[in-house]
């Protein structure tokens, strides 16, 4: 049985692993079988992570975080969690390989997944012209006319990146103003290959075997029109990955895992959460990393309190969380 299992391998997961490893908690990081490194693996230059004035490539930043975690003794499992049992005092984490790991505490840092438009054509043509990752798939749209749906920083970044390949990039946004940071907006506005389509909602993705266009609904006039395209990149935000903890942990109205104030404590003793899975507002690499630190420190206090009191012979229902934290102090 372990002291701590960390589920997730983005900035939150690896930062929690660094702190937990340095506290001698010997954490196991369940890093995912094919998505190690989280969202930053799908981006190019990260220019706003402090300490890197020249910028750093997303995958390089994640590789360094992993290296740092392993240097202090974190163990990495390139596997997925298929089942989670948080009901007992000892938490049970079942992996894709079939193995079940047991731990006194768990940090849940699974991040958020690309949000979909929710249209049937979108799923049907996913991978056949519909994509959520410009850096992954932009390569295949050389000299083609494509579109990015969205109005935030990710949408601007993707659109700008895609102009390296595409002949034209439409940015389709359902309002007249962008949510993106000023600097990203300016870059997009200045790019001659980018054309903005304002007040437009995508209501259908067209094509049979490959994307041929989209149907747009004007959010002001209600008029519909078709726009011919060979590629559609969706950048409308993210949804927290909480399916493993449905009915096990309390969630907020936004669908993120509920935590106590600015701590990482969830509704279950011994279970902590960090990163985008608890944060619907800021969702930056550095806020996720900070959140991972909080979770590791909270887990450390929790384990220290158990160490002092011995492993309780009671279930998590009967544990008084406040009493535990006071004992640790």
């Amino acid at each position: 049985m372990r002291q701590l299992i960390i589920i997730g391998s983005g900035p939150a997961g690896f930062t929690a692993a660094i702190y937990a490893a340095r506290a001698n908690l010997k954490p196991l990081v369940v890093a995912s079988s094919v998505e190690v490194g989280g969202e930053l693996m799908n981006t190019t230059e990260v220019e706003n992570f402090p300490g890197f004035p020249e910028g750093i490539m997303g995958p390089d930043l994640m590789a360094k975080m992993q290296e740092q975690a392993e240097k202090f003794g974190a163990e990495i499992a390139y596997d997925d969690v298929t089942e989670l049992d948080l009901s007992g005092d000892i938490k049970k984490v079942t992996l894709g390989s079939g193995k079940t790991e047991e731990a006194e505490s768990v940090i849940f840092a699974t991040g958020s997944a690309y949000r979909k438009l929710g249209l049937p054509g979108e799923d049907r043509l996913s991978g056949y012209g519909v994509s959520w990752c410009a850096t992954c798939d932009g390569f295949f749209f050389r000299e083609k006319e494509i579109a990015v749906v969205g109005g935030g920083d990710s949408a601007m970044e993707e659109a700008t990146f895609l102009t390296k390949f595409a002949s034209k990039v439409y940015v389709i946004h359902r309002r007249e103003t962008l949510k993106a940071s000023k600097i990203m907006q300016e870059r997009a506005f200045a790019n001659p290959k980018i054309e903005f389509v304002w007040n437009a909602e995508v209501v259908d993705v067209l094509g049979d075997g490959a994307v041929t266009g989209v149907t747009l609904n004007d959010t002001v006039t209600g008029e519909k029109r078709d726009l011919a395209l060979e590629g559609l990149f969706i950048a409308i935000g993210n949804d927290p990955r909480t399916h493993l903890v449905h009915n096990k942990l309390e969630l907020t109205e936004e669908g993120t895992i509920a935590v106590d104030g600015r701590s990482s404590r969830t509704s279950v003793a011994g279970v902590f959460a960090a990163g985008d899975v608890i944060d619907p507002h800021y969702r930056q690499a550095v806020t996720a990393a900070a959140s991972g630190t909080v979770a590791a420190l909270d887990a450390e206090h929790y384990l220290a309190a158990r160490g002092d009191a011995g492993a309780p012979a009671v279930t998590s229902d009967q544990l008084d969380q406040d009493a535990l934290i006071e004992t640790a102090v």
């Binding site: 894709g96 994509s131 992954c136 798939d137």
Partner: protein
């Protein structure tokens, strides 16, 4: 055992004229998910040496084939049988999911 590579030059022989099913993995060095799925495919090949042949095709080096098979997202895995595409799998998936997708060839 790692799966072997195929190229434009050898595709006809390696894939289209092969006797049994051949899974072609379209990948590139800059594609993170491709790198993650590569060892998974190696494992599947090692565990099923006679049922299916798994070959890797670098799209940077063989863009003509990527275009011919209308690849717009990688990793893309196409299983060829009798020279025709029998199944297409798009995106990195864990081993059990790939095995499910390939069930008809692995039984």
């Amino acid at each position: 055992m790692t799966a072997k590579a195929t190229t434009s030059a050898t595709f006809e022989q390696d894939v289209l004229q092969a006797e049994g099913p051949v899974l072609v993995d379209f990948w590139a060095a800059w594609c993170g998910p491709c790198r993650m799925v590569s060892p998974v495919l190696d494992e599947i090949q090692a565990e099923n040496p006679d049922k299916i042949t798994i070959l890797k095709l670098n799209v940077d080096e063989n863009p003509d084939l990527a275009m011919k098979y209308q690849i717009t997202s990688i990793p893309a895995m196409k299983v060829f049988s009798g020279g025709e595409v029998a199944t297409t799998i798009i995106g990195a998936k864990p081993k059990f999911a790939l095995e499910q997708d390939l069930a008809e060839f692995l039984k």
